[in-house]
């Protein structure tokens, strides 16, 4: 029995992307308290260099002109373009930095880094999900660190890539180094808090934020601090500062979107729906992917918060789109957006669980489901939930040997696994027994899972276990079949869970077919 994707409590924990992508998305822009101020540095004339170039058409003069142009952010000057073309036309006499700089001026950068993911679909799964790519990246970063060990960004990137391939200790070690090198930087603190939260080190994730000098000053840090404080079961001491920041008019809307969203979540949890709505409204003035995903989650708890996320043109908005597709039953779009969400944050388990669930329970696409799960195992090796779902998918297609191989990665009673996961594992072991020709043991395991789900008063898993068990009894043409079908009949046809309804329909049809075959 599969452990389904649960849209559990969500907080505005920072999303963690590569440094370059985070910068491009504008999360690191700095206009704290300076919303209307002029830039520090005005641009400088490059006329002197143009004049030199016009009298001396040589590679060094061209390089000198391009240097002054890039320093001043000048791109469309005809003399600069001429110098760039000159370098490209004499590449044998030019250096690699000159050539790559010249290319910047003559080629249009029409394909932005952030646009790459937008058009990817699930059909590209096999070519894009390959741990070798990550290990190569790790190798590159480690080589770069040898050359320049004081760059904290390298360690953050290393930690991210290690987390993607499930190297928890190495990831945490790299992040500690980054935090020691630069303890008060927004990017590093946000990534650090995300990593520690990812590995359930909520205390550390919260402490690094609440102890930094930026807490209560930087809205991006304050929002994460408030969110982690609530996850830790505490009330943030920066809430008041957060309110002040939101009301100060010192920050652009894009800089406070996560803060407004985080405070809106706190108000929602505290039951102040009216205040919550006000803050979420503020977060939507210039939302980012995280604040939009947050309101999408919040609307699943409080329908009056529902919005049309398509009204907002937000880059990398895959999580919110996937959740919206899921709730509105647009499953094909959902699987594509879930895949993009996964590629955007490959260390995260939520897109893995959602993608596998949709493919398995709704699209009957076991191969895609297993693709997500195997990809999830890269970052979460030996995760009982993922292994359970993978074994379930394999067993359904009678790939028993492979299923056993994965099941053997787990102990009988894996430590740290949630009760529901343990129930699912029991049922899945039952399924394996049925499919391996040991129905008595399978029956016993299923009945145990059904009872346990009933004990913890989880009707959904109780129904799922019953339906899965019934299917197996039908397939082995058991004598118990009519008794179990009576129980199946007591499950309503239109529950709120689409996968239960679908599975019940399949079981009833299978039973009908088997009766026809017997007669």
């Amino acid at each position: 029995m599969a452990n389904i994707f649960e849209n559990k409590d969500r907080r505005v924990i920072p999303n963690w992307r590569s440094f370059k992508k985070t910068a491009v998305l504008g999360e690191l822009d700095n206009n704290i308290g300076r919303v209307n101020k002029q830039p520090i540095r005005s641009l400088i004339s490059i006329d002197e260099y143009i004049e030199d170039w016009s009298h001396n058409k040589t590679i060094p003069h061209a390089g000198d002109l391009l240097s002054s142009a890039i320093v001043n952010g000048i791109a469309n000057n005809e003399h600069v373009l001429e110098a760039a073309q000159f370098i490209l036309g004499n590449s044998a006499s030019s250096t690699l930095p000159q050539i790559s700089l010249a290319k910047r001026f003559v080629t249009s950068n029409d394909k932005l880094l952030t646009d790459k993911l937008e058009n990817i679909t699930i059909s590209e799964f096999a070519s894009l999900v390959d741990p070798k790519l990550i290990w190569n990246k790790i190798k590159e970063i480690k080589a770069a660190i040898i050359g320049f060990p004081y760059n904290p960004i390298f360690y953050v990137e290393l930690a991210r890539n290690y987390s993607i391939v499930g190297q928890e200790k190495k990831a945490l070690r790299a992040m500690h180094i980054a935090l020691n090198l630069s303890p008060d930087n927004r990017f590093i603190l946000r990534c650090g808090s995300r990593l520690f939260a990812h590995y359930d080190e909520i205390g550390i994730a919260h402490d690094i934020l609440r102890k930094t000098s930026l807490a209560g000053i930087d809205p991006w840090i304050t929002s994460a601090e408030i969110s982690l404080a609530t996850l830790r079961g505490r009330s943030s001491r920066f809430l008041k500062k957060g309110f002040e920041m939101l009301n100060s008019n010192n920050f652009s809307s894009s800089n406070i979107t996560e803060l407004a969203s985080a405070i809106g979540t706190v108000e929602l949890i505290d039951g102040s729906l009216k205040k919550s709505k006000q803050f979420f409204k503020k977060s939507l003035l210039a939302p980012n992917d995280n604040s939009l995903a947050q309101i999408e989650w919040a609307s699943s708890k409080e329908p009056s918060l529902r919005i049309d996320i398509n009204e907002f043109h937000v880059k990398h908005n895959f999580e919110a789109q996937a959740l919206e597709n899921f709730h509105s039953n647009h499953l094909t779009e959902c699987i594509d957006n879930t895949f993009r969400w996964f590629l955007d944050m490959p260390f995260s388990k939520r897109p893995v669980m959602l993608g596998a669930h949709i493919a398995n329970s709704f699209l009957n696409d076991q191969e895609t489901s297993r693709g997500f799960l195997k990809a999830g195992l890269i970052s979460h090796p030996n995760d009982p939930q993922i292994i359970n779902n993978l074994v379930y998918s394999l067993a359904l297609e009678n790939k028993i040997e492979e299923a056993m191989k994965f099941m053997n990665l787990l102990t009988d009673n894996p430590t740290g696994a949630a009760d529901i996961t343990k129930i699912c594992l029991k049922a899945t072991r039952g399924l394996l027994c049925f499919r391996s020709g040991v129905p008595d043991m399978g029956r016993s395991l299923y009945l145990e899972a059904i009872e346990k789900a009933k004990d913890i008063k989880n009707q959904y898993y109780n129904w799922l276990a019953i339906l899965n068990y019934a299917r197996e009894e039908i397939l082995v043409k058991s004598n118990e079949i009519e008794t179990i079908m009576e129980t199946v009949a007591r499950i309503p046809d239109n529950t709120s869970a689409g996968d239960v309804n679908k599975l019940k329909k399949e079981v009833v049809e299978l039973h009908a077919k088997s009766k026809v075959a017997l007669s």
């Binding site: 440094f19 370059k20 910068a23 491009v24 504008g26 690191l28 822009d29 700095n30 206009n31 704290i32 101020k37 830039p39 520090i40 540095r41 005005s42 641009l43 400088i44 490059i46 002197e48 260099y49 004049e51 030199d52 009298h55 001396n56 040589t58 590679i59 060094p60 390089g63 000198d64 391009l66 240097s67 002054s68 890039i70 320093v71 001043n72 952010g73 044998a92 006499s93 030019s94 250096t95 690699l96 930095p97 000159q98 790559s100 700089l101 770069a144 050359g147 320049f148 004081y150 760059n151 904290p152 960004i153 390298f154 090198l181 630069s182 008060d184 930087n185 927004r186 990017f187 590093i188």
Partner: protein
């Protein structure tokens, strides 16, 4: 240019006896100053370089910057600039500085028929050109010469630092060649602790296109020595970068920096930008490394640039000096390093 005395010296024999034989349009022979008109002058069979101060241009640019300034103030400023360059040159000459292009003669000419007929001028030895005329990026033979030239520049800078002068404007157009030997040109924007300078209140007096990151982001040390010598260290490192990569250190940095973090966009403080600058700097260093094939020289030069151009001034300079003296702006070790590398490169050529 009709009503501009500085532009109309050609053919004249000056009071000092020099005959103006050729007007130099902005070429490799220029000393880089933007407020001057340059000529070749000849006396007793010797050709020299004349830099005539262009009052009209100075006035025009000054008025453009601040239309309310009085002409008297502007004349005074230009006169100060002229006097300062002349006096600083003499100061350096008297203090045994050898690696800069000295003022040989300073005088003024009255040219009839112009609104501003007074033309102050300085005469220098005529250089063969600036370093951009010599640099080639694909020629292995040039490698040793480049290191020799960098050694000359480092020696010149060290000499200036020893008499409390900071050049502030080291860039390719200010490295002048005399028989393949390099000297620092255009000390007009230099800062001197012991001479009254018209620029003494400036944080940075050189070409802003070559300015170090702390200047770009308006963060700087209040301590004069630390600030100006840290700037010179960066500019020396930037020359190393230019000699081998053909672009400046600031260009390499900006090339590897995301647009949101560029000085004209960034509105946070210098502390917050530091990790991003460090990231861009490390990428710039690795890009620089691609320009040098020989592993030994690549490693040595990359390390030298790392020391000289570190984007945070307090970490700039040789690490031993930083730990022992509190700052690393002494150029002694770099002079030795360039000398060593130059000799080694020469040996490599001879092998």
């Amino acid at each position: 240019m009709k009503d501009n005395a500085a532009h109309n010296l050609l053919g004249l024999t000056l009071k000092s006896g020099w005959k103006v034989v050729e007007k130099i349009t902005k070429t490799a022979n220029s000393t880089g100053s933007f407020f001057s008109v340059c000529y070749k002058v000849e006396k007793d069979g010797e050709l020299c370089f004349l830099k005539a101060f262009d009052f009209n241009r100075f006035l025009g640019l000054s008025k453009m910057e601040d239309p309310t300034r009085s002409v008297v103030d502007i004349i005074s400023e230009m006169t100060s600039a002229y006097k300062y360059e002349r006096d600083l040159s003499n100061h350096c000459k008297n203090q045994h500085v050898t690696k800069i292009a000295f003022v040989r003669e300073a005088s003024e000419e009255h040219v009839e028929g112009f609104t501003y007929s007074f033309v102050p001028y300085l005469i220098f030895d005529l250089a063969d050109g600036d370093v951009r005329m010599q640099l080639a990026f694909s020629d292995q033979l040039d490698f040793a010469w480049k290191l020799g030239s960098l050694h000359d520049i480092a020696v010149g800078l060290r000499q200036l630092h020893q008499i409390e002068v900071s050049h502030q404007d080291i860039k390719p157009s200010n490295i002048l060649l005399f028989n393949r030997k390099s000297k620092l040109g255009d000390i007009g924007r230099s800062l001197c602790k012991t001479l009254n300078s018209p620029y003494s209140d400036y944080t940075f007096t050189g070409d802003a296109n070559y300015a170090p990151p702390e200047i770009m982001y308006a963060y700087y040390e209040n301590d004069w020595h630390k600030r100006v010598f840290a700037t010179d260290c960066y500019l020396l490192g930037s020359m190393v970068v230019f000699y081998f990569s053909g672009i400046s250190m600031s260009a390499l940095l900006m090339k590897n920096l995301e647009p949101n973090f560029r000085p004209e966009s960034w509105q946070g403080d210098f502390a917050q930008i530091k990790p991003y600058l460090a990231d861009a700097f490390s990428k710039a260093l690795s890009e620089f490394g691609q320009c040098i094939e020989n592993e030994f020289f690549r490693s040595e030069l990359t390390q030298t640039i790392e020391y000289l151009c570190f984007p945070f001034p307090e970490k700039r300079g040789h690490p031993i000096d930083i730990s022992q003296r509190g700052n690393g702006y002494s150029l002694e070790r770099f002079v030795s390093k360039f000398d060593l590398l130059f000799r080694r490169a020469e040996l490599n050529i001879m092998k």
